[in-house]
Amino acid sequence: MTRCGDKPEPAFSEPWHAQVFAITVALNEAGHFAWSDWAERFGATLKTHGLSKELDGGEDYFNAWLETLEGFLAETGLAEAGAMRQLKTAWTEAYLSTPHGMPVRLAEVG
C-alpha cells in the first residue's frame, strides 16, 4: 500500500477515469439507476477481478468501473454492446487517419 500523505493529488489520474466517472454520476442523477444498485454491481466486479490479482486503486479500479458500466448499460438497453463496439472502431479509425496535432473527430455515420 502506498502512503499518500495529504499532498494534493489529482482526483483522477487519467482523463478517461474522470469521463467514465462523470457519465455514471450523470446517468444516476437522471434516474437511470439507483446508486445502491450501481455500488452492488461494481462491488461484484471488483470482487471477481480481485480473485486473480490484488487490485490497485487506480487503473485496475477504473477498468472494473468501466466493465461494470458497459455491462449494466447493455443489460438495460441504454447502450447496446454492438453499437459501442462499432463506435469504438470508428474512434480508432478516426485517430489513425487524423494527422498528428489535428483535432480528432468522428466521421459522420450514415
Binding site: 500500500m1 502506498t2 502512503r3 499518500c4 500523505g5 495529504d6 482526483a11 483522477f12 489520474s13 482523463p15 478517461w16 474522470a18 469521463q19 467514465v20 466517472f21 462523470a22 457519465i23 454520476v25 450523470a26 446517468l27 444516476n28 442523477e29 437522471a30 437511470h32 446508486w35 445502491s36 455500488a39 452492488e40 461494481f42 462491488g43 471488483l46 490484488e54 487490485l55 490497485d56 486503486g57 487506480g58 479500479y61 477498468n63 468501466l66 458497459e70 448499460l73 441504454l78 447502450a79 453499437a83 459501442m84 463496439r85 462499432q86 463506435l87 469504438k88 470508428a90 474512434w91 480508432t92 485517430y95 489513425l96 487517419s97 494527422p99 498528428h100 496535432g101 489535428m102 468522428l106
Partner: protein, 204 residues
Amino acid sequence: MPHDHDHPHSHLPSDPALRVKALETLLTDKGLVDPTALDEIIDLYQNKIGPQNGARVVAKMWSDPAFHKMMLNDPMSTLQDMGLYGRQGEHIVFVENSNDVHNMVVCTLCSCYPWPLLGIPPGWYKSDAYRARSVREPRAVLAEFGVALPEGKKVRVWDSTAEVRYLVVPQRPAGTEGFSQEALAALVTRDSMIGTALAQEPRA
C-alpha cells in the same frame, strides 16, 4: 508507448479510453448525457470539492459545543444549510475519536466515501490492500500510515455503504487553545478524517 519521432497520425488512446469515448458518443447521441454537464461534474470533483469542506466542519465541531452536538446527533439539515449536502453524502455519520477509541473508515464493497465533505477518494482507499486489510488488521494498516496508538486504545472500523458514509472526527491537538476555526481547519487533514492519520500538531 511514448516516442519522439514524427507521428504520421494522432496518438491512439488506450483501449479503455476508446471504449469510454464510444460510450460517451452513444449516450450523447441518444440524448442520455450532455457533454457540458459531464464537464461540470468533472470540474466540480477535480477542482471544487475536497477535504477542505470536511476540515471546516471538524474545526467548527472543535470550537462550537452546540454545533458539535448537532453533528453527532442529527447533522444532515445543518450540513444542507452549509451547502455540504449532495451526491453520496445524503446520510453522513460522524464518528468521534477519544482517548479510548480511534475510528477508521473503509468501504469493503467498493469505495463508498462522503463526497461532499472529502471529494473523490484517494487511490489507496480504493485498493484491495486497504479494503481487505483495514478490517482484518487495522493496527498494522495504521502503523504503515505512521499512526501508533497507545496500548489499550480501541480501534473501531466503520464499513461504509451506498447509504451511510462515515467521517472521522479526529481529536483536537493539544496547544490549540484560542485558535481560530480557520487555523484549526488547517490541521485537519483528509487522512485524519478517514482515520488513517491524526490531526496535525500545531507548529511551535
